[in-house]
Homo-oligomer: 290 residues x 2
């Protein structure tokens, strides 16, 4: 069994992006990071993004509206960033306070600056195999992990567990695309699927993205399969300083001996998302400057 | 085996739409039909759409630019229709002359008037389960055929043969939606699928949309399956006046005895598309008047 090392692959991508950005003439790409309020997870996510941006020479502009901001005020702020020619990408950090409609805010971001890939147009472009759009960071990261681990999906049966808008559906559409590395046959399973193990056992590549800790057991996996674990679940663990440990959607101890390749949690898909955000920002810059 | 009668179901929908439109006060919904040149198939398709529109009390406006129209001139024509508040839906009849980029023309139609459902935004909305968009007429017609034949996809395995933008992908996304009648587990197969019969034989509902005459044989179908045949293929047949006969993607004679329900060709999915176009036009009218 080979471990797919997301930290290593993300580090490689970051280094490539750093070289690409160093070679740019004139203004550097700029990512606007909007964080509303002081949610501790958001604070840490935005810090990480800021740090990675600085590392690769990408400008970041952190905007910190108070938790009391109204939806209309937030729209206005996004409209200004949409119109600002010195801003290439805009990320509004989730979660937003409850009085704000998160989906409406995400959709307010111009499709051309939507480096999170949540805009309707960008999801439509994934379906249409139009490469001028932005792919959401997690599915984009999964495809990179597969490609850089030598997994070609052509002729393979890819089973996706979960149909969320930010992972399951876009990764299914990507795996299905008629291009090198993809061209897979794709099955999408979910909470309403009957006889789930019968389907997951047919997977040459199994992508688990349902947010249920240790859900995928050994009897659900075909020997030799490639397993991508997208889950990041917190399990109470008094033996840890933090009081919890992280686990994926896959029962790693039971499943990993069966696999040809598997991603660990943490250290698999997780580290890829920030790298893909940076890659999308560079793409946005290039699209607006060419 | 029950035959799913597309002519009967389409007639029912047309009658419902006629009653809905009769009940509207003021201006009637208006569909602009743009036909470039005199392609015989296009002439007949547009006539059929005009006739159905008249039958249900929907206004149609047929616009017939010459085959020599440039792409920019066609864009201008579409822009005018996009801006015209008395036009609710716009359909540009395919095929267009070869000097015109068909996809670019389809995408020029405003998403709010895109009753063909080809716009990136409308495909994105199908993926996002946003019901304010327009679903392309063929996949929308397939879902109506299933619903009106008492086929509930919940807990079922739906296998889609074909990944086209106008049938395979949208119908897969529709079958997957978390709503009454849908909520299926979905597999999408295509020309690159390995061991296709193994997958199609697992289908509770098999949707064939690959454009290969009589491709689906008896050994590819599970006894009791529901089979939807989207193919419309012309086969040379000197015994016919027209010189050809129509056949689907399914070998009907061999497969139909196995099925619980099956659509014939012609008379299955085909008649539904014009009905769904009319339904989309009424929806566009309501969205712009509410």
């Amino acid at each position: 069994m080979d471990l797919i090392d997301g930290n290593k692959i993300a580090t490689d991508i970051i280094a490539e992006l750093k070289a690409d950005i160093a070679a740019l003439k004139g203004r550097k790409p700029c990512l606007a990071l909007v964080r509303v309020g002081e949610d501790p997870a958001s604070v840490s996510y935005v810090k990480k993004k800021e740090k990675t941006a600085a590392e690769i020479g990408l400008e970041s502009r952190v905007i910190l509206p108070p938790v009391t901001i109204t939806q209309d005020e937030l729209f206005l702020l996004i409209d200004k960033l949409n119109a600002d020619p010195t801003v290439d990408g805009i990320l509004v950090q989730s979660p937003l306070p409850k009085h704000i409609n998160e989906v409406a805010v995400f959709h307010r971001v111009s499709a051309r600056k939507d480096v999170d890939g949540f805009n309707t147009v960008n999801l439509g472009k994934v379906a249409q195999e139009d490469e001028t759009g932005f792919v959401a960071c997690t599915p984009a990261g999964i495809m990179e992990l597969l490609a850089r681990s030598g997994v070609d999906l052509a002729g393979k049966h890819v089973v996706v567990l979960g149909r969320s808008l930010i992972v399951g559906k876009p990764v299914a559409l990507l795996a299905l695309q008629k291009r090198a590395g993809a061209n897979g046959t794709v099955t999408i399973c979910h909470s309403g699927t009957a006889n789930l193990p019968l389907l997951t056992r047919q997977a040459d590549v199994l992508i688990a993205a349902i947010g249920r800790p240790d859900f995928v057991k050994a009897d659900m996996v075909k020997p030799g399969a490639v397993v991508i674990d997208v889950g990041i679940n917190r399990i109470a663990d008094p033996s840890k300083k933090t009081g919890y440990r992280l686990t994926g959607d896959v029962d790693f101890a039971a499943v990993s001996p069966l696999c040809s390749k598997i991603t660990p949690v943490p250290g698999g898909v997780g580290p890829m998302t920030v790298a893909m955000l940076m890659k999308n920002t560079l793409k946005a810059y290039r699209l607006s400057n060419c």
